[in-house]
Protein backbone atom coordinates (compact mmCIF):
# COMPACT_ATOMS: atom_id res chain seq x y z
CA UNK A 1 0.00 0.00 0.00
CA UNK A 2 1.26 3.40 -0.80
CA UNK A 3 1.45 6.36 1.43
CA UNK A 4 -1.09 9.00 0.60
CA UNK A 5 -4.57 7.72 0.07
CA UNK A 6 -7.26 10.28 0.37
CA UNK A 7 -10.51 9.79 -1.37
CA UNK A 8 -11.05 13.48 -1.87
CA UNK A 9 -8.65 15.24 -4.22
CA UNK A 10 -5.94 17.04 -2.35
CA UNK A 11 -4.14 19.30 -4.82
CA UNK A 12 -1.03 19.63 -2.68
CA UNK A 13 -0.64 15.90 -2.09
CA UNK A 14 2.66 14.48 -3.35
CA UNK A 15 2.61 12.60 -6.59
CA UNK A 16 3.11 8.91 -5.89
CA UNK A 17 5.43 6.96 -8.10
CA UNK A 18 3.84 4.17 -10.09
CA UNK A 19 4.99 0.73 -9.00
CA UNK A 20 4.01 -2.06 -11.34
CA UNK A 21 3.66 -5.54 -9.88
CA UNK A 22 6.38 -6.72 -12.25
CA UNK A 23 9.01 -4.18 -11.24
CA UNK A 24 8.16 -4.86 -7.61
CA UNK A 25 8.86 -8.55 -8.24
CA UNK A 26 12.10 -7.72 -10.00
CA UNK A 27 13.24 -5.68 -7.02
CA UNK A 28 12.42 -8.60 -4.70
CA UNK A 29 14.39 -10.93 -6.96
CA UNK A 30 17.47 -8.75 -6.89
CA UNK A 31 17.42 -8.71 -3.11
CA UNK A 32 17.30 -12.52 -2.98
CA UNK A 33 20.86 -13.74 -2.53
CA UNK A 34 20.55 -17.42 -3.55
CA UNK A 35 18.66 -16.36 -6.65
CA UNK A 36 21.29 -13.82 -7.60
CA UNK A 37 24.02 -16.43 -6.97
CA UNK A 38 22.10 -18.82 -9.21
CA UNK A 39 21.87 -16.18 -11.90
CA UNK A 40 25.61 -15.47 -11.74
CA UNK A 41 26.54 -19.17 -11.82
CA UNK A 42 24.21 -19.76 -14.72
CA UNK A 43 25.62 -16.83 -16.68
CA UNK A 44 29.17 -18.08 -16.08
CA UNK A 45 28.20 -21.59 -17.23
CA UNK A 46 26.52 -20.11 -20.27
CA UNK A 47 29.66 -18.13 -21.11
CA UNK A 48 31.81 -21.25 -20.75
CA UNK A 49 29.46 -23.27 -22.93
CA UNK A 50 29.42 -20.61 -25.64
CA UNK A 51 33.21 -20.32 -25.47
CA UNK A 52 33.50 -24.11 -25.61
CA UNK A 53 31.20 -24.42 -28.57
CA UNK A 54 33.29 -21.85 -30.49
CA UNK A 55 36.85 -22.64 -29.45
CA UNK A 56 36.65 -25.88 -27.44
CA UNK A 57 38.28 -28.12 -30.02
CA UNK A 58 37.39 -31.69 -30.96
CA UNK A 59 36.20 -33.64 -27.93
CA UNK A 60 36.40 -36.99 -29.77
CA UNK A 61 40.12 -36.65 -30.48
CA UNK A 62 42.32 -39.10 -28.61
CA UNK A 63 45.17 -37.06 -27.18
CA UNK A 64 46.89 -38.99 -24.40
CA UNK A 65 47.03 -42.17 -22.39
CA UNK A 66 43.60 -43.43 -21.27
CA UNK A 67 42.41 -42.63 -17.75
CA UNK A 68 45.06 -40.10 -16.87
CA UNK A 69 44.05 -38.78 -13.45
CA UNK A 70 43.13 -35.10 -13.16
CA UNK A 71 46.06 -32.71 -12.86
CA UNK A 72 48.62 -35.11 -14.29
CA UNK A 73 50.52 -34.40 -17.46
CA UNK A 74 48.81 -31.04 -17.81
CA UNK A 75 45.29 -32.43 -18.08
CA UNK A 76 43.28 -30.46 -15.56
CA UNK A 77 40.40 -32.93 -15.54
CA UNK A 78 42.34 -35.95 -16.80
CA UNK A 79 41.43 -38.14 -19.75
CA UNK A 80 38.73 -40.75 -20.32
CA UNK A 81 38.87 -44.47 -21.10
CA UNK A 82 39.95 -43.78 -24.67
CA UNK A 83 42.42 -41.09 -23.79
CA UNK A 84 40.23 -38.14 -24.81
CA UNK A 85 40.78 -34.84 -23.03
CA UNK A 86 38.00 -34.36 -20.46
CA UNK A 87 38.52 -30.59 -20.43
CA UNK A 88 37.62 -30.45 -24.10
CA UNK A 89 34.60 -32.65 -23.47
CA UNK A 90 33.43 -30.52 -20.59
CA UNK A 91 33.84 -27.33 -22.61
CA UNK A 92 32.00 -28.58 -25.68
CA UNK A 93 29.55 -30.97 -24.01
CA UNK A 94 27.37 -28.23 -22.53
CA UNK A 95 26.10 -26.87 -25.81
CA UNK A 96 23.84 -29.78 -26.81
CA UNK A 97 22.58 -30.04 -23.24
CA UNK A 98 21.64 -26.40 -23.08
CA UNK A 99 20.34 -26.14 -26.63
CA UNK A 100 18.16 -29.22 -26.32
CA UNK A 101 17.11 -28.22 -22.80
CA UNK A 102 16.08 -24.75 -23.88
CA UNK A 103 14.34 -25.70 -27.11
CA UNK A 104 12.54 -28.68 -25.57
CA UNK A 105 11.39 -26.49 -22.70
CA UNK A 106 10.25 -23.81 -25.13
CA UNK A 107 8.29 -26.35 -27.17
CA UNK A 108 6.62 -27.85 -24.14
CA UNK A 109 5.75 -24.42 -22.73
CA UNK A 110 4.18 -23.29 -25.98
CA UNK A 111 2.14 -26.47 -26.31
CA UNK A 112 1.28 -26.51 -22.62
CA UNK A 113 0.16 -22.88 -22.41
CA UNK A 114 -1.91 -23.12 -25.58
CA UNK A 115 -3.70 -26.28 -24.56
CA UNK A 116 -4.12 -25.19 -20.95
CA UNK A 117 -5.40 -21.75 -21.94
CA UNK A 118 -8.05 -23.09 -24.30
CA UNK A 119 -9.14 -25.76 -21.85
CA UNK A 120 -9.35 -23.35 -18.94
CA UNK A 121 -10.95 -20.47 -20.78
CA UNK A 122 -13.61 -22.21 -22.80
CA UNK A 123 -14.38 -25.04 -20.38
CA UNK A 124 -17.14 -27.47 -21.34
CA UNK A 125 -16.39 -30.02 -24.01
CA UNK A 126 -13.23 -28.19 -25.14
CA UNK A 127 -11.85 -28.59 -21.65
CA UNK A 128 -12.93 -32.23 -21.40
CA UNK A 129 -11.37 -33.11 -24.72
CA UNK A 130 -8.08 -31.29 -24.14
CA UNK A 131 -7.72 -32.62 -20.61
CA UNK A 132 -8.29 -36.17 -21.86
CA UNK A 133 -5.45 -35.66 -24.32
CA UNK A 134 -3.29 -34.28 -21.51
CA UNK A 135 -4.08 -37.25 -19.30
CA UNK A 136 -3.20 -39.55 -22.14
CA UNK A 137 0.25 -38.01 -22.40
CA UNK A 138 0.69 -38.24 -18.66
CA UNK A 139 -0.04 -41.94 -18.70
CA UNK A 140 2.88 -42.64 -21.03
CA UNK A 141 6.14 -43.04 -19.09
CA UNK A 142 7.86 -39.94 -20.40
CA UNK A 143 11.46 -41.08 -20.74
CA UNK A 144 10.49 -44.39 -22.33
CA UNK A 145 8.27 -42.62 -24.84
CA UNK A 146 11.02 -40.12 -25.61
CA UNK A 147 13.47 -43.00 -26.09
CA UNK A 148 11.12 -44.68 -28.54
CA UNK A 149 10.62 -41.45 -30.47
CA UNK A 150 14.34 -40.76 -30.64
CA UNK A 151 15.28 -44.25 -31.80
CA UNK A 152 12.47 -44.42 -34.35
CA UNK A 153 13.54 -41.17 -35.96
CA UNK A 154 17.27 -41.60 -35.33
CA UNK A 155 18.94 -39.54 -32.60
CA UNK A 156 19.85 -35.94 -33.30
CA UNK A 157 19.58 -32.62 -31.53
CA UNK A 158 16.31 -31.98 -33.33
CA UNK A 159 14.67 -35.29 -32.50
CA UNK A 160 15.82 -35.04 -28.88
CA UNK A 161 14.34 -31.57 -28.50
CA UNK A 162 11.13 -32.65 -30.13
CA UNK A 163 10.81 -35.88 -28.13
CA UNK A 164 11.52 -34.19 -24.81
CA UNK A 165 9.22 -31.28 -25.59
CA UNK A 166 6.41 -33.61 -26.55
CA UNK A 167 6.53 -35.59 -23.29
CA UNK A 168 6.89 -32.62 -20.95
CA UNK A 169 4.02 -30.29 -21.79
CA UNK A 170 1.20 -31.84 -19.75
CA UNK A 171 2.38 -30.25 -16.49
CA UNK A 172 2.45 -26.79 -18.02
CA UNK A 173 -0.96 -27.42 -19.54
CA UNK A 174 -2.44 -28.39 -16.19
CA UNK A 175 -0.95 -25.41 -14.44
CA UNK A 176 -2.10 -23.01 -17.15
CA UNK A 177 -5.57 -24.46 -17.08
CA UNK A 178 -5.77 -24.16 -13.31
CA UNK A 179 -4.68 -20.52 -13.45
CA UNK A 180 -7.11 -19.73 -16.24
CA UNK A 181 -9.95 -21.38 -14.35
CA UNK A 182 -9.12 -19.31 -11.30
CA UNK A 183 -8.63 -15.97 -13.04
CA UNK A 184 -11.57 -16.48 -15.36
CA UNK A 185 -13.86 -16.11 -12.35
CA UNK A 186 -12.37 -12.80 -11.24
CA UNK A 187 -14.39 -9.68 -11.75
CA UNK A 188 -11.89 -7.90 -13.95
CA UNK A 189 -12.38 -10.60 -16.56
CA UNK A 190 -16.13 -10.05 -16.50
CA UNK A 191 -15.37 -6.34 -16.56
CA UNK A 192 -13.35 -6.82 -19.73
CA UNK A 193 -16.30 -8.51 -21.37
CA UNK A 194 -18.60 -5.79 -20.11
CA UNK A 195 -16.53 -3.16 -21.89
CA UNK A 196 -16.58 -5.08 -25.13
CA UNK A 197 -13.37 -7.12 -25.20
CA UNK A 198 -13.38 -10.17 -27.46
CA UNK A 199 -12.40 -13.68 -26.32
CA UNK A 200 -8.97 -13.48 -27.93
CA UNK A 201 -8.12 -10.30 -26.08
CA UNK A 202 -9.42 -11.65 -22.78
CA UNK A 203 -7.40 -14.84 -23.11
CA UNK A 204 -4.08 -13.41 -24.14
CA UNK A 205 -4.18 -9.80 -22.97
CA UNK A 206 -6.14 -10.07 -19.72
CA UNK A 207 -5.85 -13.57 -18.27
CA UNK A 208 -2.46 -14.72 -19.55
CA UNK A 209 -0.41 -11.81 -18.12
CA UNK A 210 -2.00 -12.43 -14.73
CA UNK A 211 -1.31 -16.15 -14.99
CA UNK A 212 2.32 -15.52 -15.91
CA UNK A 213 4.03 -15.50 -12.49
CA UNK A 214 3.44 -19.18 -11.71
CA UNK A 215 3.98 -20.02 -15.38
CA UNK A 216 7.36 -18.29 -15.45
CA UNK A 217 8.42 -20.15 -12.33
CA UNK A 218 7.27 -23.42 -13.81
CA UNK A 219 8.96 -22.61 -17.12
CA UNK A 220 12.26 -22.12 -15.32
CA UNK A 221 11.87 -25.47 -13.63
CA UNK A 222 10.86 -26.98 -16.98
CA UNK A 223 14.20 -25.89 -18.40
CA UNK A 224 15.93 -27.72 -15.54
CA UNK A 225 13.92 -30.88 -16.12
CA UNK A 226 14.52 -30.73 -19.87
CA UNK A 227 18.27 -30.51 -19.26
CA UNK A 228 18.09 -33.56 -17.00
CA UNK A 229 16.05 -35.33 -19.66
CA UNK A 230 18.60 -34.59 -22.36
CA UNK A 231 21.38 -35.76 -20.07
CA UNK A 232 19.45 -38.97 -19.41
CA UNK A 233 18.94 -39.67 -23.09
CA UNK A 234 22.59 -38.98 -23.93
CA UNK A 235 23.64 -41.10 -20.99
CA UNK A 236 21.69 -44.00 -22.48
CA UNK A 237 23.45 -43.38 -25.78
CA UNK A 238 20.39 -41.91 -27.43
CA UNK A 239 21.71 -38.40 -27.93
CA UNK A 240 23.16 -37.13 -31.16
CA UNK A 241 26.11 -39.56 -31.68
CA UNK A 242 28.17 -36.92 -33.47
CA UNK A 243 27.96 -34.32 -30.73
CA UNK A 244 29.72 -34.72 -27.42
CA UNK A 245 27.52 -33.96 -24.46
CA UNK A 246 27.93 -34.20 -20.68
CA UNK A 247 25.42 -37.03 -20.43
CA UNK A 248 27.18 -38.94 -23.19
CA UNK A 249 30.52 -38.60 -21.36
CA UNK A 250 29.02 -40.20 -18.26
CA UNK A 251 27.39 -42.94 -20.28
CA UNK A 252 30.53 -43.75 -22.23
CA UNK A 253 32.70 -44.05 -19.14
CA UNK A 254 30.30 -45.76 -16.81
CA UNK A 255 31.76 -49.23 -17.35
CA UNK A 256 35.02 -48.05 -15.88
CA UNK A 257 33.89 -46.15 -12.82
CA UNK A 258 35.70 -48.38 -10.39
CA UNK A 259 39.00 -47.77 -12.19
CA UNK A 260 38.61 -44.06 -12.84
CA UNK A 261 36.11 -41.88 -10.99
CA UNK A 262 36.83 -38.63 -12.75
CA UNK A 263 35.44 -39.14 -16.25
CA UNK A 264 31.93 -39.59 -14.81
CA UNK A 265 32.22 -37.22 -11.86
CA UNK A 266 33.04 -33.95 -13.60
CA UNK A 267 30.36 -34.01 -16.31
CA UNK A 268 27.84 -34.91 -13.62
CA UNK A 269 28.88 -31.91 -11.58
CA UNK A 270 28.50 -29.76 -14.69
CA UNK A 271 24.96 -30.98 -15.27
CA UNK A 272 24.15 -30.58 -11.60
CA UNK A 273 25.47 -27.02 -11.47
CA UNK A 274 23.46 -26.03 -14.52
CA UNK A 275 20.20 -27.43 -13.22
CA UNK A 276 20.93 -26.19 -9.70
CA UNK A 277 21.54 -22.63 -10.83
CA UNK A 278 18.41 -22.70 -12.97
CA UNK A 279 16.30 -23.93 -10.08
CA UNK A 280 17.75 -21.29 -7.76
CA UNK A 281 16.57 -18.74 -10.28
CA UNK A 282 13.18 -20.44 -10.32
CA UNK A 283 12.95 -20.34 -6.52
CA UNK A 284 13.93 -16.69 -6.52
CA UNK A 285 11.24 -15.87 -9.08
CA UNK A 286 8.73 -17.78 -7.01
CA UNK A 287 9.58 -15.80 -3.89
CA UNK A 288 9.56 -12.57 -5.86
CA UNK A 289 6.10 -13.22 -7.25
CA UNK A 290 4.67 -14.46 -3.94
CA UNK A 291 5.93 -12.02 -1.33
CA UNK A 292 3.25 -13.37 1.03
CA UNK A 293 5.16 -16.60 1.46
CA UNK A 294 8.12 -14.71 2.80
CA UNK A 295 6.28 -12.51 5.22
CA UNK A 296 4.50 -15.35 6.96
Amino acid sequence: MSATQHSTPAPDAPVVEAVSPLSEAFRMFRRNRPAMAGTVVFLILLAIVIYGALYGGDPFEIVWAPQTPPGEDGFVFGTDYLGRNLLTGLLTGGAPTMVVGASAAALSIVIGITIGAFAGYFGGWVDTLLMRVTEFFQVLPALLFAMVLVTLFSPSLLTSSFAIGIVMWPQTARLTRAEFLKIRELEYVTAARAIGARDRRIMWRVILPNALPPLIVSATLTVGVAILFEAGLSFLGLGDPNTMSWGMMIGANREYILDAWWPVTFPGIAIFLTVFSVSLIGDGLNDAFNPKMRER
Binding site: M1, A3, S7
Partner: protein, 334 residues
Protein backbone atom coordinates in the same frame (compact mmCIF):
# COMPACT_ATOMS: atom_id res chain seq x y z
CA UNK B 1 -15.61 -6.87 42.82
CA UNK B 2 -12.76 -7.51 40.44
CA UNK B 3 -13.67 -7.78 36.79
CA UNK B 4 -13.74 -11.17 35.09
CA UNK B 5 -11.32 -10.01 32.45
CA UNK B 6 -9.14 -6.96 32.86
CA UNK B 7 -6.96 -5.70 30.03
CA UNK B 8 -4.60 -2.85 30.90
CA UNK B 9 -2.40 -0.80 28.60
CA UNK B 10 -2.00 -3.60 26.11
CA UNK B 11 0.56 -3.01 23.40
CA UNK B 12 1.06 -5.38 20.49
CA UNK B 13 3.76 -4.94 17.87
CA UNK B 14 4.35 -6.67 14.58
CA UNK B 15 7.53 -6.75 12.58
CA UNK B 16 6.73 -6.09 8.94
CA UNK B 17 8.72 -5.08 5.93
CA UNK B 18 8.17 -1.47 6.98
CA UNK B 19 9.88 -2.25 10.30
CA UNK B 20 8.10 -2.71 13.60
CA UNK B 21 4.58 -1.37 13.65
CA UNK B 22 2.35 -0.95 16.68
CA UNK B 23 -0.91 -2.75 16.03
CA UNK B 24 -2.35 -2.08 19.48
CA UNK B 25 -1.34 0.72 21.79
CA UNK B 26 -2.56 1.35 25.31
CA UNK B 27 -5.70 -0.70 24.99
CA UNK B 28 -7.53 -1.09 28.30
CA UNK B 29 -10.95 -2.49 29.07
CA UNK B 30 -12.65 -4.72 31.52
CA UNK B 31 -15.38 -7.27 31.20
CA UNK B 32 -17.77 -8.25 33.98
CA UNK B 33 -19.50 -11.56 34.31
CA UNK B 34 -22.47 -11.98 32.07
CA UNK B 35 -22.16 -8.68 30.20
CA UNK B 36 -21.50 -8.01 26.55
CA UNK B 37 -18.76 -5.65 25.51
CA UNK B 38 -18.98 -4.51 21.92
CA UNK B 39 -15.70 -3.61 20.22
CA UNK B 40 -16.36 -1.56 17.12
CA UNK B 41 -14.29 0.08 14.40
CA UNK B 42 -13.42 -0.11 10.71
CA UNK B 43 -11.19 -2.84 9.35
CA UNK B 44 -7.56 -2.48 10.37
CA UNK B 45 -8.35 -0.80 13.68
CA UNK B 46 -7.03 -3.64 15.81
CA UNK B 47 -10.30 -5.27 16.85
CA UNK B 48 -9.31 -8.78 15.87
CA UNK B 49 -5.78 -8.38 17.23
CA UNK B 50 -7.31 -7.52 20.58
CA UNK B 51 -9.32 -10.73 20.52
CA UNK B 52 -6.33 -12.85 19.52
CA UNK B 53 -4.23 -11.23 22.24
CA UNK B 54 -6.74 -12.25 24.89
CA UNK B 55 -6.73 -15.78 23.51
CA UNK B 56 -2.93 -15.87 23.51
CA UNK B 57 -3.06 -16.53 19.76
CA UNK B 58 -1.08 -13.59 18.39
CA UNK B 59 1.06 -15.24 15.71
CA UNK B 60 4.61 -14.95 17.03
CA UNK B 61 6.74 -14.17 15.13
CA UNK B 62 5.99 -11.66 13.60
CA UNK B 63 3.77 -10.41 16.42
CA UNK B 64 4.36 -9.97 20.13
CA UNK B 65 2.70 -8.43 23.16
CA UNK B 66 5.30 -5.86 24.16
CA UNK B 67 3.59 -4.24 27.13
CA UNK B 68 0.52 -4.33 29.30
CA UNK B 69 -1.39 -6.99 31.12
CA UNK B 70 -4.34 -9.26 30.55
CA UNK B 71 -5.86 -10.61 33.77
CA UNK B 72 -8.44 -13.33 33.68
CA UNK B 73 -10.04 -13.92 37.11
CA UNK B 74 -7.04 -12.19 38.58
CA UNK B 75 -4.53 -14.41 36.79
CA UNK B 76 -1.96 -12.71 34.53
CA UNK B 77 -2.04 -14.14 31.01
CA UNK B 78 0.69 -12.05 29.40
CA UNK B 79 3.83 -14.14 29.66
CA UNK B 80 1.94 -17.18 30.98
CA UNK B 81 3.19 -20.56 29.83
CA UNK B 82 1.70 -21.91 26.62
CA UNK B 83 0.39 -24.99 28.44
CA UNK B 84 -1.57 -22.83 30.85
CA UNK B 85 -3.02 -20.70 28.07
CA UNK B 86 -3.97 -23.79 26.17
CA UNK B 87 -5.98 -25.09 29.09
CA UNK B 88 -7.80 -21.77 29.38
CA UNK B 89 -8.60 -21.67 25.68
CA UNK B 90 -11.73 -23.54 24.84
CA UNK B 91 -12.48 -24.21 28.52
CA UNK B 92 -12.72 -20.77 30.10
CA UNK B 93 -12.53 -18.58 27.02
CA UNK B 94 -14.27 -19.70 23.87
CA UNK B 95 -14.08 -18.02 20.50
CA UNK B 96 -16.10 -17.90 17.30
CA UNK B 97 -14.89 -16.45 14.04
CA UNK B 98 -16.02 -14.45 11.08
CA UNK B 99 -15.90 -17.11 8.40
CA UNK B 100 -17.93 -20.16 9.34
CA UNK B 101 -17.12 -21.51 5.89
CA UNK B 102 -13.43 -21.90 6.56
CA UNK B 103 -13.29 -22.08 10.34
CA UNK B 104 -14.24 -25.72 10.57
CA UNK B 105 -11.80 -28.42 9.52
CA UNK B 106 -13.13 -29.74 6.20
CA UNK B 107 -11.94 -33.31 6.69
CA UNK B 108 -13.54 -34.11 10.05
CA UNK B 109 -17.19 -34.64 10.96
CA UNK B 110 -18.70 -31.69 12.82
CA UNK B 111 -19.80 -33.88 15.73
CA UNK B 112 -16.23 -35.06 16.21
CA UNK B 113 -14.95 -31.50 16.09
CA UNK B 114 -17.29 -30.49 18.91
CA UNK B 115 -16.50 -33.67 20.85
CA UNK B 116 -12.79 -32.94 20.55
CA UNK B 117 -13.24 -29.68 22.44
CA UNK B 118 -15.04 -31.58 25.21
CA UNK B 119 -12.45 -34.37 25.37
CA UNK B 120 -9.61 -31.89 25.62
CA UNK B 121 -10.87 -30.23 28.76
CA UNK B 122 -13.17 -32.70 30.49
CA UNK B 123 -12.55 -36.14 31.83
CA UNK B 124 -15.22 -37.98 29.92
CA UNK B 125 -15.31 -40.99 27.64
CA UNK B 126 -15.50 -40.72 23.87
CA UNK B 127 -19.07 -41.92 23.75
CA UNK B 128 -20.05 -39.46 26.46
CA UNK B 129 -18.35 -36.64 24.55
CA UNK B 130 -20.13 -37.63 21.36
CA UNK B 131 -23.44 -37.65 23.24
CA UNK B 132 -22.79 -34.21 24.67
CA UNK B 133 -21.81 -32.91 21.26
CA UNK B 134 -25.22 -33.93 19.95
CA UNK B 135 -26.92 -32.27 22.93
CA UNK B 136 -24.96 -29.09 22.27
CA UNK B 137 -25.99 -29.14 18.63
CA UNK B 138 -29.57 -29.35 19.80
CA UNK B 139 -28.97 -26.45 22.20
CA UNK B 140 -27.75 -24.21 19.39
CA UNK B 141 -30.79 -25.05 17.32
CA UNK B 142 -29.51 -27.53 14.76
CA UNK B 143 -32.37 -29.74 13.60
CA UNK B 144 -31.82 -33.50 13.62
CA UNK B 145 -28.59 -33.13 15.62
CA UNK B 146 -27.82 -36.84 15.75
CA UNK B 147 -27.59 -37.19 11.98
CA UNK B 148 -26.08 -33.74 11.45
CA UNK B 149 -23.27 -34.67 13.84
CA UNK B 150 -22.08 -37.13 11.23
CA UNK B 151 -22.03 -34.48 8.51
CA UNK B 152 -18.91 -32.81 7.18
CA UNK B 153 -18.74 -29.01 7.24
CA UNK B 154 -19.27 -28.62 3.50
CA UNK B 155 -22.61 -30.39 3.83
CA UNK B 156 -23.98 -27.64 6.10
CA UNK B 157 -25.11 -24.11 5.32
CA UNK B 158 -23.21 -21.07 6.59
CA UNK B 159 -25.68 -20.48 9.38
CA UNK B 160 -25.52 -24.10 10.50
CA UNK B 161 -21.73 -24.01 10.51
CA UNK B 162 -21.73 -20.92 12.67
CA UNK B 163 -24.06 -22.75 15.04
CA UNK B 164 -21.58 -25.61 15.14
CA UNK B 165 -18.83 -23.10 15.95
CA UNK B 166 -20.95 -21.72 18.77
CA UNK B 167 -21.66 -25.22 20.07
CA UNK B 168 -17.92 -25.88 20.06
CA UNK B 169 -17.15 -22.61 21.81
CA UNK B 170 -19.65 -23.15 24.61
CA UNK B 171 -18.99 -26.88 25.00
CA UNK B 172 -17.08 -26.40 28.26
CA UNK B 173 -19.32 -23.62 29.57
CA UNK B 174 -16.70 -20.89 29.23
CA UNK B 175 -16.89 -17.69 31.26
CA UNK B 176 -15.95 -15.54 28.28
CA UNK B 177 -17.01 -15.93 24.68
CA UNK B 178 -15.17 -13.88 22.09
CA UNK B 179 -17.13 -13.42 18.89
CA UNK B 180 -15.06 -11.91 16.08
CA UNK B 181 -17.53 -10.54 13.53
CA UNK B 182 -19.62 -13.70 13.89
CA UNK B 183 -22.26 -12.72 11.35
CA UNK B 184 -20.40 -10.64 8.78
CA UNK B 185 -20.31 -13.51 6.30
CA UNK B 186 -23.96 -14.43 6.82
CA UNK B 187 -27.22 -13.21 5.36
CA UNK B 188 -29.36 -10.86 7.46
CA UNK B 189 -32.05 -13.37 8.32
CA UNK B 190 -29.40 -15.82 9.44
CA UNK B 191 -27.57 -13.06 11.27
CA UNK B 192 -30.74 -12.37 13.23
CA UNK B 193 -30.96 -16.05 14.12
CA UNK B 194 -27.36 -16.10 15.34
CA UNK B 195 -27.82 -12.92 17.39
CA UNK B 196 -30.92 -14.36 19.02
CA UNK B 197 -29.03 -17.57 19.75
CA UNK B 198 -26.12 -15.72 21.31
CA UNK B 199 -28.40 -13.72 23.55
CA UNK B 200 -30.24 -16.87 24.54
CA UNK B 201 -26.98 -18.57 25.40
CA UNK B 202 -25.87 -15.58 27.43
CA UNK B 203 -29.07 -15.73 29.45
CA UNK B 204 -28.85 -19.47 29.99
CA UNK B 205 -25.14 -19.76 30.65
CA UNK B 206 -24.32 -16.35 32.08
CA UNK B 207 -21.34 -16.10 29.74
CA UNK B 208 -19.67 -12.74 29.21
CA UNK B 209 -19.31 -11.86 25.53
CA UNK B 210 -16.78 -9.73 23.70
CA UNK B 211 -18.49 -8.93 20.44
CA UNK B 212 -16.23 -7.59 17.72
CA UNK B 213 -18.04 -5.89 14.90
CA UNK B 214 -18.00 -3.03 12.43
CA UNK B 215 -21.77 -2.78 12.55
CA UNK B 216 -23.35 -0.23 14.87
CA UNK B 217 -26.68 -2.00 14.49
CA UNK B 218 -25.18 -5.16 15.91
CA UNK B 219 -23.81 -3.08 18.78
CA UNK B 220 -27.23 -1.66 19.55
CA UNK B 221 -28.80 -5.06 19.61
CA UNK B 222 -26.10 -7.02 21.40
CA UNK B 223 -23.89 -4.85 23.57
CA UNK B 224 -24.16 -3.51 27.12
CA UNK B 225 -20.98 -1.54 26.84
CA UNK B 226 -18.98 -0.39 23.83
CA UNK B 227 -15.33 0.25 23.09
CA UNK B 228 -14.63 2.17 19.87
CA UNK B 229 -11.24 1.52 18.32
CA UNK B 230 -9.33 3.53 15.78
CA UNK B 231 -5.84 2.79 14.42
CA UNK B 232 -4.91 0.45 17.25
CA UNK B 233 -6.19 2.63 20.09
CA UNK B 234 -9.37 2.87 22.05
CA UNK B 235 -10.86 6.28 21.43
CA UNK B 236 -14.15 6.00 23.24
CA UNK B 237 -15.64 3.71 25.80
CA UNK B 238 -18.88 3.62 27.72
CA UNK B 239 -22.41 2.25 27.99
CA UNK B 240 -23.98 1.37 24.66
CA UNK B 241 -26.79 3.92 24.96
CA UNK B 242 -24.43 6.68 25.92
CA UNK B 243 -22.28 6.06 22.90
CA UNK B 244 -25.06 5.51 20.39
CA UNK B 245 -27.01 8.55 21.50
CA UNK B 246 -24.30 10.94 22.71
CA UNK B 247 -21.11 9.90 20.97
CA UNK B 248 -18.25 12.08 22.15
CA UNK B 249 -15.50 11.36 19.63
CA UNK B 250 -15.85 12.83 16.15
CA UNK B 251 -14.97 9.43 14.69
CA UNK B 252 -17.73 7.67 16.59
CA UNK B 253 -20.16 10.39 15.62
CA UNK B 254 -19.19 10.00 11.99
CA UNK B 255 -19.41 6.22 12.16
CA UNK B 256 -22.98 6.45 13.41
CA UNK B 257 -24.05 9.24 11.09
CA UNK B 258 -22.81 7.65 7.89
CA UNK B 259 -24.94 4.52 8.17
CA UNK B 260 -27.78 4.44 5.66
CA UNK B 261 -30.15 3.41 8.43
CA UNK B 262 -33.68 2.14 7.98
CA UNK B 263 -35.79 5.11 8.86
CA UNK B 264 -39.45 5.75 8.05
CA UNK B 265 -38.72 9.39 7.36
CA UNK B 266 -36.01 8.56 4.84
CA UNK B 267 -38.15 5.89 3.25
CA UNK B 268 -41.00 8.32 2.77
CA UNK B 269 -38.82 11.10 1.40
CA UNK B 270 -38.86 11.62 -2.33
CA UNK B 271 -35.11 11.95 -2.42
CA UNK B 272 -33.28 11.01 0.79
CA UNK B 273 -30.66 13.54 1.93
CA UNK B 274 -27.01 12.68 1.33
CA UNK B 275 -25.27 10.59 3.96
CA UNK B 276 -22.75 12.06 6.36
CA UNK B 277 -19.20 11.28 5.30
CA UNK B 278 -15.91 10.77 7.05
CA UNK B 279 -13.35 11.85 4.47
CA UNK B 280 -10.25 9.77 3.80
CA UNK B 281 -9.37 6.33 5.10
CA UNK B 282 -7.85 4.71 8.17
CA UNK B 283 -4.10 5.42 7.96
CA UNK B 284 -1.82 2.39 7.54
CA UNK B 285 -0.15 1.41 10.81
CA UNK B 286 3.38 2.11 9.65
CA UNK B 287 2.50 5.74 8.95
CA UNK B 288 1.06 6.59 12.35
CA UNK B 289 2.57 9.71 13.84
CA UNK B 290 2.74 10.93 17.38
CA UNK B 291 -0.54 12.79 17.38
CA UNK B 292 -4.18 11.82 17.18
CA UNK B 293 -4.48 9.31 14.34
CA UNK B 294 -7.86 10.71 13.38
CA UNK B 295 -6.71 14.33 13.10
CA UNK B 296 -6.18 14.13 9.32
CA UNK B 297 -9.83 13.15 8.77
CA UNK B 298 -11.30 15.31 11.50
CA UNK B 299 -13.06 18.62 10.84
CA UNK B 300 -12.54 19.68 14.43
CA UNK B 301 -8.77 19.10 14.47
CA UNK B 302 -6.69 21.94 15.89
CA UNK B 303 -3.15 22.55 17.09
CA UNK B 304 -3.42 20.34 20.19
CA UNK B 305 -4.21 17.31 18.04
CA UNK B 306 -0.53 16.85 17.22
CA UNK B 307 -0.33 15.33 20.71
CA UNK B 308 -1.96 12.02 21.44
CA UNK B 309 -5.18 12.60 23.43
CA UNK B 310 -5.71 10.35 26.44
CA UNK B 311 -8.86 8.31 26.99
CA UNK B 312 -10.46 10.07 29.93
CA UNK B 313 -13.75 11.01 31.47
CA UNK B 314 -15.33 8.55 33.87
CA UNK B 315 -17.88 5.98 32.77
CA UNK B 316 -18.09 7.45 29.27
CA UNK B 317 -14.50 8.04 28.30
CA UNK B 318 -13.42 9.85 25.16
CA UNK B 319 -9.94 10.35 23.71
CA UNK B 320 -10.31 13.70 21.98
CA UNK B 321 -8.87 17.15 22.68
CA UNK B 322 -11.96 18.79 21.22
CA UNK B 323 -14.29 16.88 23.50
CA UNK B 324 -15.64 18.67 26.54
CA UNK B 325 -17.21 16.24 28.95
CA UNK B 326 -20.68 17.65 29.55
CA UNK B 327 -22.97 16.57 32.29
CA UNK B 328 -22.67 12.81 32.01
CA UNK B 329 -25.97 11.02 31.67
CA UNK B 330 -24.98 8.81 34.59
CA UNK B 331 -28.51 8.15 35.70
CA UNK B 332 -28.49 4.48 34.81
CA UNK B 333 -24.74 4.13 35.37
CA UNK B 334 -23.24 0.96 36.75
Amino acid sequence: MAALLEVTDLKVEFSTRYGDVTALDGVSFSLDEGETLGVVGESGCGKSITALAVMGLIPAPPGRISAGSIRFQGEELVGAREGRLRRLRGRDIGMIFQEPMTSLNPVFRVGDQIAEAILLHQDVSRTEAAKRAIELMKTVGIPEPASRARAYPHELSGGMRQRVMIAMAISCRPKVLIADEPTTALDVTVQAQIFDLMRQIQEDYGVAIIMITHDMGAIAEMADRVAVMYAGRMIEEGRADAILDHAGHPYTQGLIACIPALDPEVAAADRPPPLAEIPGIVPPLHLLGKGCAFAARCDRAFAACTDMPALKGGPHAVACHAHEPQQQPTAGGA
